[in-house]
């Protein structure tokens, strides 16, 4: 099996109210020096070794997992994982 970790983040310039809320809460809790908090998604999955990971993950992100208009995505693949 391959373990794929997909990181989905908002593009620069897209407002992130959740990140802003976290930034405000951190400041309230006394954590100063924290800036530009942005919240994204992390999707982990296992894929069969036979699958062409690059092509499949790209297609899955474009069609379902991310919104390519406002989000960027990157992914890491870990080979030879025993699920």
């Amino acid at each position: 099996m391959k373990k794929v970790s997909i990181h989905i983040t908002l593009k620069e310039g897209v407002l992130d109210p959740e990140g802003k809320a976290i930034e405000g809460s951190l400041a309230t809790l006394g954590y100063e020096g924290v800036k530009e908090v942005r919240v994204g998604k992390l999707i982990e999955m296992y894929m069969d070794d036979a699958v062409d990971v690059k092509a499949e993950v790209e297609a899955m992100c474009q069609k379902l997992l991310a919104n390519p208009v406002i989000e960027n995505y990157t992914y890491d693949v870990e080979e030879g994982v025993v699920s």
Copy 2:
């Protein structure tokens, strides 16, 4: 500035309905060979160089960012980033 990326994932054994829904949708779209989809959060932030990142991030995760009962967290730090 330091760029900190925090990965928050559900602990093993904790049900993940969002992951299950994605898994079902991927199967419907014809992506076979995908298993155990789990959805987590990715929180990115910039911190001042003066801050003790390890201590602060640990405390922030325990108190606000993650729910330590059901979630695990890891983080990467990138030093010397121009924000």
